[in-house]
Symmetry: none
Subunit: 200 residues, 4 copies
Amino acid sequence: MRARTFTESGRRAQIVRAAIEVIAEAGYLKASFSRIAKHAGLSSTGMISYHFAGKEDLLKACVTEIEEVTGAFMQPRIDAAVGHVAQLRAFVESNVELVGEHPAEIRALIDLVKNAGSQSGAVNGRLALFEEHFRTGHAAGAFGPLDARTTALALTAGLDAVVATAAANVPEPAELTRIGRELADLFVRATAPETTGEPE
Amino acid sequence: MRARTFTESGRRAQIVRAAIEVIAEAGYLKASFSRIAKHAGLSSTGMISYHFAGKEDLLKACVTEIEEVTGAFMQPRIDAAVGHVAQLRAFVESNVELVGEHPAEIRALIDLVKNAGSQSGAVNGRLALFEEHFRTGHAAGAFGPLDARTTALALTAGLDAVVATAAANVPEPAELTRIGRELADLFVRATAPETTGEPE
Amino acid sequence: MRARTFTESGRRAQIVRAAIEVIAEAGYLKASFSRIAKHAGLSSTGMISYHFAGKEDLLKACVTEIEEVTGAFMQPRIDAAVGHVAQLRAFVESNVELVGEHPAEIRALIDLVKNAGSQSGAVNGRLALFEEHFRTGHAAGAFGPLDARTTALALTAGLDAVVATAAANVPEPAELTRIGRELADLFVRATAPETTGEPE
Amino acid sequence: MRARTFTESGRRAQIVRAAIEVIAEAGYLKASFSRIAKHAGLSSTGMISYHFAGKEDLLKACVTEIEEVTGAFMQPRIDAAVGHVAQLRAFVESNVELVGEHPAEIRALIDLVKNAGSQSGAVNGRLALFEEHFRTGHAAGAFGPLDARTTALALTAGLDAVVATAAANVPEPAELTRIGRELADLFVRATAPETTGEPE
DNA sequence: AATGAATGAGACTTCATTCAT
DNA sequence: TATGAATGAAGTCTCATTCAT
């Protein structure tokens, strides 16, 4: 448990940034140490091994970094929303809008999630969050009697797919906003309680 | 454009089958020619290169093969359904049930689709199909005024995710049926027209 | 369990020979795949990996090869000797004389044994052989009441050291013969029964 | 030729101690600067390179350190013995008993001697000592008409092997004493003059 | 139609050493 | 005196592909 030097933090950050960009541009499969080193302007792959315990360690650092960036954008918007339905909407819409701000990070994250698979705590974390949200939301009358797990699975995957497609070819901000609203509408309809009472 | 001899067809089929099994068991990343050759009982990878133009060619053949298998299961069920909503439901339910019949093929296909990415005609084919389905369905009053593209994207991805999860750890047939129905419900609600009139 | 082609056997033998020579000249530590490949006139280290499962596999093949060579030289001489003492003498003398015939193999084997350590069955095999020889020899009145294990350990190591030194700078045949006889005398004296009766 | 400050001496000693322990535990091959630095609680390998001219220098320092420790144990016992035979016996027995006192140092030394090879002055020093001892001992009538060099070579190697085996799995003190005596007997018999006169 | 051999690039990792601070 | 950063070579191994037979 050693404190990190300024230089080390800087190098680590530089390498992580390079890795994210490489993954975004060339894909997870092509994100080799050589490619990342070249992209980062490093003379050798040994440098990366020096700063990271291994490939897994580097990729974990990438995920963490991206999650910080995306969290900083999305979390305030989600927190500002009141009620389960509004929060679901805020999550979806801010996630789609995020594409306009950090397309590379988004592309990389989605590729990481796809390939790193279930190892990463990131995916399962969000999945569990959604699941719990649908459960408590149903109790509060915001959602119908859903199979929370299946619903969470389907909607997070659907969200990812839309976001990934948008990130691959970033549209105008207005179009992005429209897509986000459209998708949120879709999800809200999908999860709405059958009888239209006075939810929350 | 030379006709294929029987032997050649046999060898190709044998290799494709081995490749599918390897992908299902070890994942796309580990599906190297050596591994596939070993699984197929071939003594060298040269055999594979001889029968397929390259790795991409082999993978494409795998996708085609799997699609035939899955199509044979799903298509009759979809054709038997009348109306846009019922067809959507049939697609979803039969796809989930398919997991019980061909888990390996499903696992492989999903891995292929994830990694082969947007190159594959398969994904885009289904996507276009869904898109068109939502468009014509709206015109027929079966679906609401959806953004067909976004909806198709989200729902196919959501379906894949549920199927992939089920395939990774195949549940009882009854549970599979329940999940399929649950998911179909979700999708039908999501795409339903707002005013409950007399759709189709 | 596939039969080996002529070509494959040839290549394997060629690589093993190169490996033995490299180990003899540069030592176990420096015997890298690149060095061996270069010595064998191969264009890449991949070739070695193609024919051998790994470094361990190659080294094992080297040991086997060397044991065949040395066995072919020593075994007849040992078998020709009658009685425990004469056999011990034959072993020692033929082992030392062997240096004149196959210095490289001897150098390599000793380095392999030193570094591969107790993994190899070779060392322990010979050790057990000596141990058993001293035990049965004692029962037959040829040797004194020795601690068979300690004796076997000390004498095999002593033999190796003398052989290794000779192999490092091969002397004239006559001198080699003299050293072998001297060493055999030493060992025979060391293991002789205290009372000089009529052994065997 | 600059005198060493106290701190420098301390650091050097610390590193040497760590190196010895690493070699004893993990073996010569695994004793990399990183591993040694980690074991010594140093944060970088640079520290080692700073204090030692190179790897060889460090290893030489290890050998020197170990020889001091072993010398302190063995030398008094050897000096206390009177006559060539008794001294040979004292050397062997104290060396084997030493295993009970400093197993790590012994393990490390043996690994160093094996791998550092003939470069080290240590081995050749002891070898020359033995050789001279046998020569003068013969003149004094204590030993037979031996080939001093060959005998020295064989016996030192035999001693090392027994010691190494004991060090790898340290036995009870009594057993250690027994092994030492057994080995000394072996060596005394091996070197005894043929006619039993009045040696010394 | 098939095969085994060969290729060369590239993967990740570890190493001993140097150097500026 | 000490340190962390950087280097570049070398390590073993796997890969998809080509080619002569």
